[in-house]
């Protein structure tokens, strides 16, 4: 049956109008965008949304593992899993590098076999809260995410425990919780920092080797520290843009 009264011109016109309308609507910001509750709306002293970051002065670390004890107590980290840990590096005179972790209940480094050591040091590690976090990108259901303050978190009501993020993290900072069977990781003590407290590991550190602060506040402890010191990040070639900055990091570690 011919439809003579609808010309080709009309059809093309209508399609064009429809497409432009859809395009405009999709460009229009969602009404609810950025309109949530307090989350992500937090403001710092400078009146900006904070950007939380972390710094480690490895030359100050004494390897007491108070951070690991503090983290476990604060966050109920299960046995044999770690949200933060301290690595001990021992460079032998023959060039060999030995790395070990105080992976026991007491968090005490075992006496290593005697060796001819050139140098030895500790490196505390934790989630790097990357700006381009791989773990969040691979999550198929949006259960792993970066908050507007730059903290990488796991949604414990959505995670199905597929483990993609555990595989994806180049720093080995995630694990599957043996009881909840969900991905678990360092939250930068989100429940503490949003109350204005320090993360448990930073507070526990007796030597001030761990530092936490807001990069958007030019007067924060961390901003000042980073202006004065030279730092680098772990595995920069991964392109993850980590926000955990290391001072006095040795070539063996990177």
């Amino acid at each position: 049956m011919p439809c003579n009264d609808i010309s080709r011109r009309t059809v093309i016109k209508q399609i064009a109008v429809g497409a432009t309308g859809t395009l405009l609507l999709s460009l229009f910001p969602r009404l609810s965008f950025g309109n949530g509750e307090s989350s992500g709306k937090t403001k710092n002293a400078a009146g900006k949304r904070p950007l939380y970051a972390y710094a480690v002065d490895t030359s100050r670390c004494i390897g007491c593992c108070a951070c690991m004890r503090g983290c476990r107590a604060e966050n109920d980290v299960p046995k044999d899993r770690y949200r933060t840990w301290v690595e001990r590096y021992r460079v032998l005179s023959n060039g060999e590098v030995q790395v070990d972790v105080a992976a026991n209940d007491q968090f005490v480094f075992q006496d290593p076999p005697p060796a001819d050591i050139t140098k030895a040091f500790f490196v505390p590690k934790l989630c790097n809260h990357c700006e381009k976090s791989v773990c969040s990108q691979v999550c198929p259901i949006g259960a792993s995410y970066e908050t507007p303050e730059g903290v990488v978190l796991v949604d414990t009501k959505r995670c199905v425990g597929c483990g993609y993020c555990v595989q994806a993290c180049p720093y080995g900072c995630r694990f599957i919780h043996p009881e909840t069977h969900m991905a678990s990781k360092c939250t930068l003590c989100y429940h503490r920092i949003t109350r204005g407290l320090l993360p448990a590991c930073v507070q526990s550190c007796p030597k001030g080797a761990r530092m936490f602060g807001d990069l958007h506040d030019p007067l924060s402890h961390l901003s000042i520290f980073m202006k004065q010191r030279r730092y680098r990040v772990l595995k920069p070639e991964m392109g993850t843009k980590p926000k955990c900055y290391y001072v006095d990091l040795d070539i063996e570690v990177i």
Binding site: G63, F109, T147, L153, R192, G208
Partner: protein, 307 residues
Amino acid sequence: MNIRPDYRHAYPVLAMLIALVTVGLTVRYLLVPETFGEYGYYRAAAMDDEKAIQPRHVGRAACLECHDDIAAIHAKDVHSSVECETCHGIGDKHVKDSSSPMSPADTREDCLVCHRQMDSRPGSFPQVDLEKHYKFVGVKDPSIACVKCHSGHEPLYLSKDLHSARLHPLIQQCNSCHIGRTDETLKKPDMHPKIFQCDYCHADLAKSFAKGSHAKVSCTACHLFIKDNAFSGRIVRNTNPKFCLLCHQKSAFKETAGKDNAAPPVIDWPAHITDVSADTPDPKRPCVECHQDQIHALYTKEAHHAM
């Protein structure tokens, strides 16, 4: 002839489309949680779940409300950078109910967690080789807890607040020597004063010290050097009698110095102070007031500048 277009054939398709969209939207509504997408591809309310967790470390300020006496002692000594909860465990239960116990942190392992001798610890950090330490102070019972001598709150019994201690002038004031100096020595690093080698500048004191009874003690054991940062540090001269007593207090677990052992001589405190100054026994009187000659010659500005 005007034929009205007949759309009847399109009705089932339209109905199916509407049904599909309705089902699709319903499924989406059921599957996509509330607040999903507010900030990004995640549930914004998840942040509130995370925030709702109660902090368990209460922090120094909470401890201070009741234990301000201990906090005052703790703040002036070398452990002032250590939070209460680092040694005593988390205090969330204790602040709600003071009968809930905290860890006393009085075992040897509690101290050795930080102070055990380890090749990977920074050299400037005080580390204890138990065998050597016990031999040095003459401890015969190797199972003794560190807190029998050292208080965890003020391990060195500093006579002065650590933070009010003076900066070592050489480390602080490079310019006092370097400005206006044009001679050749300026360009020879070998000729730079060895600022971390005490006897390089204090040769006269070091000489008399080497003859005295404390010759095997390092200068910085009593003249504590606290590094503030890479470029400056503070010297704390410790004259608190309690500090001297760390080595010289008579205890059941210590050797008494004899002819054949090198243990430091011990005295009975506070009996000693009543013995020597019966009329005004002041337990805070610095030991060096009487015993200076056994340590080293007194520091005088004249001798120092004549050097």
